[in-house]
Amino acid sequence: MSAILSVRDLEKTFGSIVAARDITVDIPPQQRVGIIGANGAGKTTFINMITGYLKPSKGTVRFEDRDITGHSTREIMRSGISRSFQVAQIFPSLTVFDNICAAAAIARGPAGTLGHALRPLRAPETMAEADAAIELFQIARYRNTRAATLPQGVRKLLDIAMAVVGWPRLLLLDEPTSGISIEEKFALMDVVMTALKSRQMTVLFVEHDMEIVSRFADRVLAFYDGTVIADGPPDVALSDPRVQTLISGTKVAKAESAHV
């Protein structure tokens, strides 16, 4: 299997609005891909089509050589793909530990069977998985805190931890550092990327901060007006004049590609 994710001629229209078109991309396993582009350029639409939240109007999506085009979110999440959200989607009335436990309990075992549904939620293995994820993302301090009261950075980490606890092979992060102060962005991405590397995941992350993209991505996909206008390693893609005109706005100094 050469590419873990293969997208061909993907398109999405809403009535007369073309949100995404002509997207063709192959992503090899364990690659870290930064997705950049202005708001409304089609990045989240792209992610939503891969994760089944939106059905493509045209084109195909293949994951690990299986066609997953138009499959339901649930099926796709069960196949080894997972995602985090621009606005962290967590369970506010539960503690951090219970949040991850819920995610872990769902992830274990075959889906949809009666036996699966009737297992106890707080099984020892489930709780162990949850604690492991908490360690991995360094949020042990907040283990028993109600999620509604968490600071923004921890919320985002929790959101990602919940996506990761099921050991997906492909992870899509929608603006993981949005809402985080500039000083903390790098620290957060450090934690996240280290955690993901230890689990050998392929990662696609949407990001607006070009320095973060330069530092953490092996490859950059630049979106504009619904389609990909640049595709390559960060130093190449970010120096592309079209990208600089339409997206990044300024010449980005060549950041040290200190790969984590």
Partner: protein, 315 residues
């Protein structure tokens, strides 16, 4: 902790069963009806935890009741155990069919659609002459595996039967709450989209909960029909559903015990109110409901939870 609650519950049920001969007849009858209603409330609690408030559970109560009445009248079935089971099964089947539609709705729209469906049954029953229209019709006293008690003995038999059904339901529902399917109620209420994105079909889980709640409602209606000895379309009217919702608020959706304690308290308060201040009982009920919502939003059950929490060491 879970097993301790089960133990306490078991002791309570056994005590209640044992003191039957010492209780005055009217109180026995009141408790029997209260616990039959408690089964419907238990179903409501299952849905309430998921963030859904159905305003039409009376549909299943009525379905269970009429199933029993019709089986007794048309098919001469008189065994209480058979009647209850069939009452629950028919109601559960209706819930299963309705669930395909209803499970897709949330919040106010869920409440309204469930209300509409219960009013449809009401309308059908009122217009059906052969079923007695608004007067309904009477239900023969049931038999118990051949034994045909009368008078006081019948009262005892129904009382013990209700207690048994409630005890079994309480155990099963408690166990359900500890399973993944049951425990996901709070995550679904908190953030349904996230649950879906973790790989669970929320609609399917809700569909299952609807069936469980419907079946419990059917059991309640079946027992109610046998105890009251009469069925009529008002059992499906929206005010009946409102009564069940009322009890759920009063008791809180925090525990299985809440359904039984809440129902009993409600029946006692209602009886007293109707007896002592007949012109004011709705006013009293309404005021109690209002005060509960304003000052004890988690219901009476929250008093117990707060008490328990203050005793636990901080983790």
């Amino acid at each position: 902790m879970a097993t301790r609650a089960n133990l306490v519950g078991a002791v309570c049920f056994i005590l209640l069963a044992a003191i039957a001969p010492a209780l005055p007849g009217w109180f026995l009858s009141l408790t029997t009806i209260a616990f039959a209603n408690a089964l419907v409330v238990l179903g409501l609690i299952i849905l309430w935890r998921t963030g859904l408030v159905p305003f039409g559970q009376a549909l299943y109560y009525c379905a269970g009741a009429y199933t029993v009445a019709l089986l007794a009248r048309w098919f001469k079935v008189s065994d209480a155990f058979v009647l209850i089971i069939l009452g629950g099964v028919i109601a559960g089947l209706i819930a299963f069919l309705i669930g395909f539609l209803l499970a897709r709705y949330r919040e106010i729209f869920f409440a309204m659609l469930s209300l509409a469906l219960s009013m449809i049954l009401y309308g059908v029953l009122v217009k059906t002459e052969s079923l007695g229209s608004t007067d309904g019709f009477s239900v023969e006293p049931p038999t118990f595996l051949g034994w045909a008690p009368h008078g006081q003995a019948l009262g005892f038999a129904l009382y013990w039967l209700v207690l048994a059904v409630c005890a079994i339901s309480a155990v099963l529902v408690s166990a359900y709450f500890r399973t993944a399917a049951g425990a996901l109620a709070v995550p679904i209420r908190d953030n349904e989209i996230r649950v879906e994105f973790l790989g669970v079909s929320v609609n399917r889980l809700i569909h299952i909960k609807l069936v469980i709640a419907g079946t419990l409602g059917g059991f309640g209606g079946a027992l109610g029909a046998m105890t009251i000895g009469h069925v009529d379309p008002a059992m499906s009217y929206w005010t009946t559903s409102g009564g069940f919702v009322f009890v759920t608020i009063l008791a809180g959706a925090g525990s299985v015990a809440a359904a039984f304690v809440g129902s009993l308290v409600f029946e006692i308060v209602r009886s007293i109110a109707v007896d002592v201040l007949p012109g004011f009982w709705q006013l009293i009920l309404g005021s109690v409901l209002l005060l509960t919502i304003l000052f004890l939003p988690e219901g009476l059950g929250s008093i117990a939870t707060r008490f328990r929490r203050s005793k636990e060491p901080a983790t």
